[in-house]
């Protein structure tokens, strides 16, 4: 039950929000909401709020905690906040609406998932919901999209989009992206012997409007006998730019992940940034970062839009350890800079064209080491861009993997078995060095580093920068840190009880600025990396949404 004053505040916020939507404005236009997964179409994950700032950060205290009660795979969500209500998704696709000022639960939605969904290696976890037209939209662990009523949490329409039994468990682990009444979502499966797709669904009634085949039906790009099991997909959300009216998304790697020799050709549109017409799902332009990918280098990371010298630009970190800067109007390359300190899969990438140089790829003949590893230069946890400092704050780590390939019969793949085609595989420290991790602040156009903070283990949480001059970042050990956005000096930290593998956001409710930190380690990464970053072996799981404010 809301207090009257909150109802008024909610109405006021609602009015602001409606105004913002009507003008195509965004969460980052100071209305105090957080309406999209990455903040808005620019993927800045920046809050323009400054009530919490460098001068009062020491007074930041816990305001409330909400727990979903299911810690399977931890909690990986970026919550949304609209009109004083927070919406978030937890393990096994449980969705919650809570009062953003008090943490009081308003409704919960627990879907009945097909039992077989737990056979998928991508089971149980989900990174967010999308909200549009009074509906909360989610892609499910068993391959459906479901619309639930934003006010009541009651289930509305649902539509089956994938057939997990036929595609080794391909499903949805991220929120749809909203584009003028259409919800766009890509499925998992770059590592599976299946063919990846992206779907456009009519938000009004759940009807499937179009399907985009991520694997281009082109014999020059794909051998005919490989395309049906060539992987692809898009397992992280894209963005819809209301100005260009285009949907931009980074696609998954091709399969088999490491044996590129059996699928010679560029393997479009895998490991690419693609701009689609959201009305039709047709490609407007694309830029492939890793042609004929042999290293599991998906392009799933955030697509960040900024303006520079009158141009609309995109910058994007590939798992292969390079940041590509593109002209947003046509995808032409503006610059490419090296993000990772250890790179050996290619000798160089041309900064003017994006063309990759001499390749060093896995072979059947011998086991070799490749840097960065298949876990990437960073995990999918987005960084944050601050228009105040013009810096991009992001986690990263230095890790490699060894691999040797072997011909693999698809008929012998187990249901949950990725299509890697490896006879040898393991994660390793960079040759002659220790594996390392960090939070860094970069000029995103040039790669010039402003500051760095070293971490003992990879930071797996999504970063938040604010107009209060703060950069929030969570770590494996459970601390959420606040740093000075100009110097990297730590100004505050708090122990949340479990590692952070989720999105930190900020919003206004009842006149106060809140910082919310979902805490609870899970996901595939900790197991993968634990042979090198051994602390991952002993981390505790959990799931709690913790809201902070200054009294």
């Amino acid at each position: 039950m809301k207090r009257p004053i909150r109802a008024v505040a909610g109405l006021m916020l609602g009015a602001f929000a409606m105004s913002a939507f009507a003008t195509g404005a965004s969460a980052q236009d100071a209305n105090g909401n957080w309406t999209e997964y990455n903040g808005d179409y620019r993927s800045w994950r920046y809050s323009p709020l400054d009530k919490v700032n460098k001068s009062n950060i020491g007074k930041l205290k816990v305001a409330w905690i909400h727990q979903p009660g299911d810690i399977t795979s931890g909690i990986q969500v970026t919550p949304l906040v609209i009109d004083g209500i927070m919406y978030y998704i937890a393990a096994n696709n449980r969705v919650y609406a809570v009062d953003a000022a008090t943490g009081t639960q308003i409704w919960e939605y627990i879907p009945e998932l097909d039992a077989d969904h737990m056979k998928s290696i991508f089971a149980a976890y989900n990174r967010g919901v999308a909200i549009a037209d009074g509906k909360v939209l989610l892609g499910t662990s068993d391959g459906r999209m479901i619309a639930i009523d934003q006010k009541t949490g009651k289930e509305g329409w649902q539509v089956r989009l994938t057939q997990p039994a036929e595609c080794h468990g391909c499903n949805f682990t991220s929120p749809p992206t909203i584009a003028n009444g259409i919800a766009i979502i890509g499925k998992t499966g770059g590592d599976l012997a299946q063919r990846g797709q992206i779907y456009g669904v009519n938000i009004a009634d759940g009807k499937l409007l179009w399907t985009f085949e991520v694997l281009k039906d082109d014999p020059a790009s794909w051998p005919a006998d490989q395309i049906a099991t060539g992987g692809g997909g898009a397992w992280m959300p894209g963005v819809f730019d209301p100005k260009t009216q285009l949907y931009y998304v980074g696609t998954s790697n091709p399969a088999p992940d490491f044996r590129a020799s059996q699928r010679r050709g560029d393997n479009l549109y895998t490991s690419s940034i693609v701009a689609l017409d959201p009305k039709t799902g047709k490609v407007v332009w694309h830029h492939q970062e890793v042609p004929n990918d042999a290293w599991d280098f998906d392009a799933q990371n955030e697509i960040v839009s900024i303006q520079h010298e009158g141009k609309d630009l995109i910058f994007h970190l590939n798992k292969g350890g390079f940041v590509t800067v593109l002209d947003k109007k046509d995808g032409s390359v503006v610059n490419v800079w090296q993000f990772s300190e250890n790179v050996n899969w290619v000798d160089k990438i041309d900064p003017k064209t994006g063309k990759i140089g001499t390749r060093n790829e896995p072979t059947d003949a011998e086991k070799k080491i490749f840097c960065p590893s298949a876990l990437g230069a960073r995990s999918m946890n987005a960084g944050s861009y601050s228009p105040k400092t013009k810096l991009w704050y992001t986690n990263g780590f230095e890790l490699c993997n060894s691999a040797q390939t072997v011909e693999t019969q698809i008929s012998k793949l187990a249901f949950s078995q990725p299509y890697y085609a490896t006879s040898e595989f393991g994660f390793d420290a960079p040759p002659g060095k220790k594996a390392s991790a960090y939070l860094k602040a970069f000029d995103p156009l040039t790669g010039k580093m402003a500051w760095r903070v070293d971490y003992k283990n990879p930071g797996l949480g999504w970063v938040l920068a604010t107009a209060g001059g703060l950069v929030f970042n969570g770590d494996l050990e459970g601390y959420v840190h606040a740093y000075d956005d100009e110097s990297g000096k730590e100004l505050w930290k708090f122990q949340t009880g479990s590692g952070i593998r989720a999105g930190i956001v900020s919003y206004m409710a009842d006149g106060k600025q809140y910082i919310v930190v979902p805490s609870g380690m899970g996901s595939l990464f900790p197991g993968f990396a634990s042979s090198v970053f051994t602390d991952f072996k002993t981390i505790r799981g959990g799931a709690a949404v913790i809201a902070f404010t200054v009294e």
Partner: protein, 150 residues
């Protein structure tokens, strides 16, 4: 495409498909015996398990290793030293039936999830994976050479 109905080599096939509560463990978490409770242990029959000598057969270990590398190593490392469990190379007195049952049924333990592999990896193949995992233990007595076995 799936290998659900493959004939096993003298071992009873355990059908766990369509189970409603199967939880799993991406970390392919084969755990210590006392902790290795299958998700639905009551559904696992008292399987006819291979002899200790069978589990030391060099051909089984090699075949199990090949499957382990292709299906399990991403989470567990090629020698079982990764994953959110005690390293396989530090184990001793590890009950092979427990290893088999966790592989077959999968397991959820806290936030850790391992999918069930029963039904899509034939039971005889699972026992070969067990043979490889056992060969990593500190108390492994060494392989029994077998050439061209199956």
């Amino acid at each position: 495409m799936m290998n659900h109905h493959r004939k096993c080599l003298g071992f009873r096939r355990i059908n766990i498909l369509n189970s409603s509560v199967l939880m799993c463990a991406v970390a392919f978490c084969v755990a210590a015996p006392m902790a290795a409770v299958p998700a639905r242990s009551q559904e696992v029959p008292a399987a006819t398990r291979p002899s200790d000598d069978d589990l030391r057969r060099s051909d089984w270990i090699a075949q199990g290793r090949a499957k382990f590398i292709s299906a399990c190593s991403y989470c567990h490392g090629s020698k079982g030293d990764a994953g959110k469990v005690k390293s396989f190379t530090e184990r001793s007195n590890w009950n092979p039936q427990s290893i088999h049952d966790v592989i077959t049924n999968g397991r959820t333990r806290g936030s850790n999830v391992m999918p069930p592999w029963g039904g899509s990896i034939a039971d005889d193949e699972i026992w070969r994976i067990v043979a490889y995992i056992k060969s990593l233990s500190t108390d492994f007595k060494g392989p029994i050479p077998v050439e061209n076995g199956n």
